[in-house]
Symmetry: C2
Subunit: 422 residues, 2 copies
C-alpha cells in the first residue's frame, strides 16, 4: 500500500504513434503532506534548508516540494537527532511534501572526494583501477570503497570513516521521515567503460532489491505499531542507472520498473548530448502509471527535454547556487547581474517575470548587493531563480493541459537560447 | 518649516522634581513616510540593506524605521546614482521612514582605518599627535586628515582619496533622500584629552552651523523648484558631542540645542560607565519638544538607561551583527546558539519571545544552521534579535504610557542581567 497516489491528467500527444509520439504528461502526485502538480521542479534543501531562504520565501517561489540530502543530514546534525525532533518536516519548519535522496551520489562524489570540490561529472584518473575501489584523486586513494554489501567512505567534513549499505540508507531516510525516499544506488561517471558500467549496474540492482526489502520491513513494523492502521512510512522510488549504454539503460528500466517501487528516479552523470536518448529509452519502458524523477537536472533546455520525454519531477541545485553567485535566469538567457554593466541599469531583472524580485528591485540594486557582498543578494537571487525555474515547469504543465506545449517550447527556447549563446 | 512633527504623549514621572525626575517620554514622530512611535529602536541598513533581511522581513520584526550609512553609500554605489534611481526608498524597496547618518563616525573610524577592523571605541596610539592629523594605526599614518573645512580620508574599500565637508555630507544625504538626516560631526574617542575634545567640539559646532546653512539652502532651492509649495527635503538633526566632559557636553547641548535643527543626535564613543551621566547632562538642556537620537547604542541595559533619561531613538548594528554570528538575545540573557550544548535542545530559542523564529524553530535547528554555515542561520538570528530589541523598546514605551516603567525595567533586567553574568 503506497502512501502516495499518482494520476495522469493529460498526455502530450497520445494520438501520435511510434517514433513521433512524445512521452510527456501532466499529472497529480498526492503525498501525505500535500499535492504536487506535475511536471514539477523540486527545490533542493541540502542541509534541511533551501539555502538562504525561509520556508515562507520557498513557498513564495511557487515551490510545491523540497528535496533534502541524506548524506549531508546523516553526517550533520545526524538522522537520529532529526528523528528525535519529530522528523525533517518539523525540524526545518516545512509542512509541504518532502523528499530525500539516497545519499548514493554524494557518497561517491563528496565522500570520495574529501577535501576536493567536484562537479556532477565525476573525474576518474585511472579507470582501470576503479572496479572495486574508486579514488577520484590520485593523491587521496581509498576514500570510497565499494563492496558488494555497501560503500565505506570518509566524511567530507572531518575525514571520519562511515559505511553505508542499502539497509542503512533506508534506515537513515526513515529516520529523516520525508514523504518520498530513494533506493541506494551507485551513480557512475559517463567516462567509465562498459565493463564497469555493467558491474556497477548489477550492484545498483541488487541494492535496489535490498532497499525495497528493508523498506517494506520497516513499513510493516511501523504499521504493526500503529493501531490506526493508517498509511505509514514514506513512498520509495527505485533508481535506474546504466550510464550512456542503451542496452544497460533498457535492462535497468526493465529490472527496476518491475520491482514494487512507488516511483522511479533516473540517475547518472550525463554528458549533455546523451541525456535525451537515455531519458527516452528509460521512460519508454518504465510503468506509465508511476511518477518519474530525473535526478539533478534543472537547466531550462534540459527541463523541456525531460518533460516531453515523460519526466514528472526534477531537482537541481543550479537555481540556488547560481542565485547566490549572481547568475540569474531571464527570458533572454542567463546574466551575471554582478557585472559592471548593470550598475546603472534601472530596469527590472526580467520584465517578463512576475516574481517579487523582478517587481520590486532594479538590476542596479541587485548589482550593488552582490558587489557589496550583502547576503540579501544571494537571497533575492535565489528567490528569483527558483521562481523562474519552478514557474517555467509550471508553464510546461499548463501547455500540456492546453495542448500547446510545442509552441510554448519553441517560443521560450528561441528567445532564451538565442540570447544565451550570443 | 520642518518635514517632521514630534509630539509627546506622556512623560515618565513629571510630578517628581529635581534630581529624582526621570526625563523619559513616549511620543509620536511623524515623517513623510509614516509614523514612528517613540521611544523606538532604528534598524541599521548600512549599505541600503538591513543585512540578510528582505524589506518584508524587516517589517515582520516590528521595525518602524531604518537608518542607512552615508559613508558606505557615498563610496558604493554612490549617492548620485541612488538619486538618479529616485532615492534610497525606491532603490532599496523600503517605503517606511528612513534616516541617514552624517558619515562622520565612519570617516573617522573606517576611513581612517583603511584595511583594519575597528570597534566603536577608537584606539589612539599617540594622542599627542592627534590634533589635526589622526592615525589609528601607527603603520598607516595620514589616512584621515582633519582640517577646519572638512576631512580628507581614504576609502576602506580601495584606498582612494576623498574629501568630505559639512556641505558635502549634506549634499550626499539630500541625494540619498532619507526622511531624517544628520549634521556632519567629529566623533571623538573617550581616550582623547580635554584639549583635543574641546578643539574637536568647536569644529563640530562650526560644522553643525555650516550643515544647517547648506541644508536650508538646498531645501529653499528645492521649494522654489516645486510649484506645489509642499514640504520638501529631509529633516535635519544636529549632533551633540563633547566626550565624557560635563562642561563640554553642556556647552554642546546648549549650542546645538539653540540652532534651528528638527531634532538631535547624541554622539560619541562612550565608555559604558560614562553613558548615563552624559545622556542626562545633555537631555536636561536640549529642547524638550524635539526628538533625540542616541547614536550607535542598542544593548538592553543601555536602552533602559537611554529611555529613562529622555532618549527617543536608538540605532545599533549589534542585533544584526550578533544575529549573523549566532549570539542571540533571550529574556534570560544572550546565548551563542552555535555552542554544542544546543545541538540536542528541542526548546524554542526564547519561550518568552513571540517572534516567528521562536514560534517555529528549535534551538537545535538554529545550532545546526550556524554550524553548517547556512545563510538561513544569519537570517533567522537577525530576525529574532531585531524583533527582540525593537519589541523591548516598544514595551518600554507601553510601560511609560501605562505608568509602570520602573516595574517593567526591574523585572526585565533582573532576569536578563542575572543570566547574562552567570
Amino acid at each position: 500500500m503506497s502512501t502516495i497516489k499518482f494520476s495522469i491528467e493529460k498526455e502530450l500527444n497520445k494520438e501520435l504513434g511510434g517514433e513521433t509520439a512524445k512521452l510527456g504528461r501532466a499529472g497529480i502526485l498526492e503525498t501525505p503532506h500535500g499535492i504536487i502538480e506535475t511536471p514539477a521542479f523540486v527545490s533542493v534543501g541540502t542541509k534541511a534548508t533551501v539555502k538562504a531562504l525561509t520556508p515562507e520565501q520557498i513557498l513564495d517561489t511557487g515551490a510545491q516540494v523540497v528535496l533534502a540530502n541524506t548524506y549531508h543530514l546523516y553526517l550533520e546534525p545526524g538522522d537520529e537527532r532529526i528523528k528525535k525532533f519529530g522528523g525533517l518536516h518539523k525540524f526545518m519548519n516545512w509542512s509541504g511534501p518532502l523528499m530525500t535522496d539516497s545519499g548514493g551520489f554524494q557518497v561517491f562524489s563528496l565522500g570520495a572526494a574529501y577535501g576536493k570540490e567536484l562537479s556532477k561529472i565525476i573525474k576518474i584518473t585511472d579507470p582501470s583501477q576503479m572496479i572495486t575501489e574508486r579514488s577520484l584523486d590520485s593523491e587521496m586513494p581509498r576514500l570510497a570503497k565499494i563492496g558488494a554489501d555497501g560503500v565505506s567512505f570518509r566524511s567530507h567534513h572531518d575525514g571520519s570513516l562511515h559505511y553505508i549499505t542499502p539497509e542503512k540508507s533506508i534506515e537513515i531516510q526513515h529516520n529523516l521521515g520525508a514523504d518520498i525516499i530513494f533506493a541506494f544506488d551507485e551513480c557512475t561517471s559517463p567516462t567509465e567503460d562498459y565493463r564497469y558500467q555493467e558491474e556497477a549496474l548489477e550492484r545498483t540492482h541488487r541494492w535496489a532489491e535490498r532497499s525495497l526489502e528493508h523498506h517494506q520491513k520497516l513499513v510493516h513494523a511501523s504499521v504493526l505499531k500503529n493501531t490506526s492502521m493508517g498509511k505509514v512510512g514514506p513512498a520509495l522510488f527505485g533508481i535506474v542507472q546504466g550510464g550512456r549504454e542503451k542496452s544497460l539503460r533498457k535492462r535497468s528500466a526493465e529490472f527496476i520498473g518491475n520491482l514494487d517501487f512507488d516511483g522511479f528516479g533516473i540517475g547518472g552523470s550525463f554528458a549533455k548530448e546523451d541525456m535525451e536518448t537515455v531519458v527516452r529509452w528509460v521512460n519508454e519502458i518504465l510503468p506509465k502509471d508511476k511518477p518519474r524523477h530525473l535526478l539533478g537536472i534543472g537547466e531550462p533546455e534540459d527541463l523541456f527535454m525531460g518533460v516531453e520525454n515523460g519526466v514528472d519531477l526534477f531537482d537541481c541545485v543550479a537555481p540556488t547556487r547560481n542565485g547566490r553567485g549572481g547568475t540569474l535566469y531571464t527570458h533572454r538567457g542567463k546574466i551575471n547581474v554582478r557585472n559592471a554593466e548593470y550598475r546603472e541599469d534601472t530596469g527590472s531583472l526580467d520584465p517578463e517575470c512576475n516574481c517579487t524580485v523582478c517587481k520590486n528591485y532594479s538590476r542596479a540594486y541587485l548589482c550593488h548587493l552582490y558587489r557589496a557582498h550583502e547576503m540579501l543578494g544571494g537571497t533575492l537571487g535565489s528567490i528569483h531563480n527558483l521562481y523562474f525555474i519552478i514557474n517555467l515547469v509550471k508553464c510546461m504543465r499548463e501547455s500540456i493541459l492546453n495542448g500547446n506545449f510545442e509552441e510554448f517550447k519553441k517560443d521560450f527556447l528561441s528567445k532564451y537560447l538565442f540570447h544565451q549563446t550570443t
